[in-house]
Subunit: 336 residues, 2 copies
DNA sequence: GATGCTCTTGGGAGCGCTCCCAGATGGAGC
DNA sequence: GCTCCATCTGGGAGCGCTCCCAAGAGCATC
């Protein structure tokens, strides 16, 4: 129906030059006379020429595509502002480049298998991965394929708990974040400070608890999976163990919301009876009752840094740094 | 460094068949003898063969890629759960197919220009677009290029306000949603019901207000841009115009949050003095003070439906339906 | 044994591009 | 006049794949 798209040969013919010269103009080579360049550019404009990506990829052996793999089961995906912020950061950094972003959400084991097979040099030039579970085989697999890779979140360990090695990554300073929260609670005169820790197969879960423990000696800790429901459950257990607790640090905002719900149901006032601090600094926390004090992590910046690390790998230069830790800060709102 | 990846020629040689036969096996043609098929599959497995996408695309003139274009300036992007839900729906539907998803966020005019040039048949097979501003030229541009396109949100009009035509789209039943909110408020005995409407260059903004007006005669309407700040500002204006109002319907959750903030600051109790209803049913509303009653729209379902419409276009079949309207429902939580 | 059919097969052609080499051009230097 | 060099140019080769054609193999029928 539509007439065939012009090829570079068409452009060359119209400009009255050879295919080689036309190609040089398209790719910005300096070895072209001004007259030839002008003629080619004019022809490109008149014909509305767009280079065929497939043909180019075939010969250059690059795809100019980067995959963003979010390897995370189920609902957490995107319901937490954490993911959204990182995607935004990556996307805005990527907009500066010629690279295109592939989005791949891996939720089930079958999808992971499929993703593993597709994440090859045949398809993408590099991979950005959000996967923080220690038992996820995907990072090692990508790495084994020789593909440039940047993780979000310090890799805890590979399959069989062997360390993954020197994979570049970007992470928030989770330990310091945990410390900030704990220290603030102590400074406020809280005496019995509990912690709802995250899953211990994720470095974020481990590090936030570690920071907390550097400040708080007492071992009033229950574990959740970062979800609101798990936070509520942990809070019930904590109240059972220590009805007199006067502060809780939850390793994620949703868990903090769950905890607040349980605390209110148990008749505790927040923050008068029990102070609550979350982790994420999510916008939703601004409207909670009371507004949630939380450790903010700069997700957008993390996304941009991930992109930067990947671009460095792609350009082949020996990167000065392969690990980037961004700072967290306590955002006071009202629950503590 | 790494040895060259096997090509289909390598596979054919190892299997002791011709290139054609190997290709037929890879592409699942039935015209292959069981023996040949087995030999080829064995060779593929042993060599770890992965077809070169670029080479295949070059000859088939398809890319097996679909772009998800989010054409929306600034912060709204992804901070609203609306986007996240749709992306999740699209992604999960796409996982069932061979298609890959490109994510393209278009925030500035320059990015839009760039996107317009890249959204050609050379690069993607189809486009899913989240763009609800009437003056966005991108949909028409994509359509003019002959690319299959599905919008999220009923297109209001093209550039120069001419109708965009029969572009397939998926949308929530915004008018009914507005009606549901207004009717509920009336049923609850509210007498002076105000509305914080969305921008009138977006069909969602228009339709939600339309539904509201089908129930509420009084014209107590202020306009915002769906953001929290604009909601707060509109609420100030409404209180100024009608201090005695006893209910507000805001056309987005963030605007409702902004309104609640202003109402509380003005000493109004929610919902006793003033009932508030938002639009989105965002999870964040569950934790607000009080929890926000809101018109829920099934974003994930919308994403899945968009994918379905696009797949239908790609398969070339004459679609029975090109417009899908999904139902909204009022989610009662506490603010009304 | 010749004929005609179906099923299966191998490999040539060509997709649109970049890479690279050889050649053309023109000016500087002797 | 000649040589030498730098600059620019055209087009052959080939990337890995699918499409398609012609031909081979196997079998039933006359």
């Amino acid at each position: 129906m539509t007439e065939p798209r012009p090829t570079i040969e068409t452009v060359a013919a119209r400009a009255g030059v050879g295919r080689g010269t036309a190609s040089r103009v398209v790719n910005g080579s300096s070895q072209v006379s001004p007259a030839a360049r002008a003629a080619v550019l004019k022809a490109i404009d008149e014909l509305g020429y767009v280079p065929n990506r497939a043909a180019r990829n075939l010969v250059t052996r690059r795809t100019d595509c980067v995959a963003l793999v979010i390897s995370e089961p189920g609902e957490r995906l995107f319901t937490e502002p954490y993911f959204a912020g990182i995607v935004r950061g990556i996307s805005s950094a990527m907009a500066q480049t010629q690279l295109q972003l592939w989005l791949s959400m891996v939720q089930s084991a079958t999808e992971r298998e499929r993703a593993g097979r597709f994440l090859t040099r045949e398809h993408v030039d590099g991979v950005l991965m959000l996967s923080q579970h220690a038992d996820d085989p995907l990072p090692a697999q990508v790495r084994a394929g020789g593909l440039p890779l940047v993780l979000c979140g310090r890799p805890l360990a590979g399959p069989d708990n062997r360390p993954v090695g020197d994979i570049p990554f970007v992470d928030a300073d989770n330990a310091t974040g945990g410390r900030q929260a704990a220290q603030y609670l102590v400074d406020q005169g809280r005496k019995r400070v509990a912690c709802i820790a995250g899953p211990q197969d994720m470095s974020a879960g481990v590090a936030r608890l570690l920071g907390f423990r550097q400040v708080i000696g007492e071992d009033l800790v229950e574990y959740g999976d970062f979800s609101e429901e798990s936070g509520a459950k942990a809070m019930v257990a904590l109240l059972d163990r220590a009805p007199g607790l006067d502060a809780v640090f939850a390793a994620s905002d949703p868990m903090a919301f769950g905890a607040m719900r349980v605390l209110k149901a148990a008749g505790r006032r927040i923050p008068e009876d029990v102070a609550v601090i979350g982790f994420d600094g999510s916008p939703g926390g601004r409207h909670s009752d009371p507004p949630l004090t939380s450790v903010f992590q700069p997700t957008e910046e993390m996304g941009r840094e991930m992109t930067r690390l990947l671009l460095a790998q792609l350009s082949g230069e020996q990167p000065a740094e392969t690990q980037i830790i961004v700072e967290t800060r306590l955002e006071l709102r009202g629950s503590a």
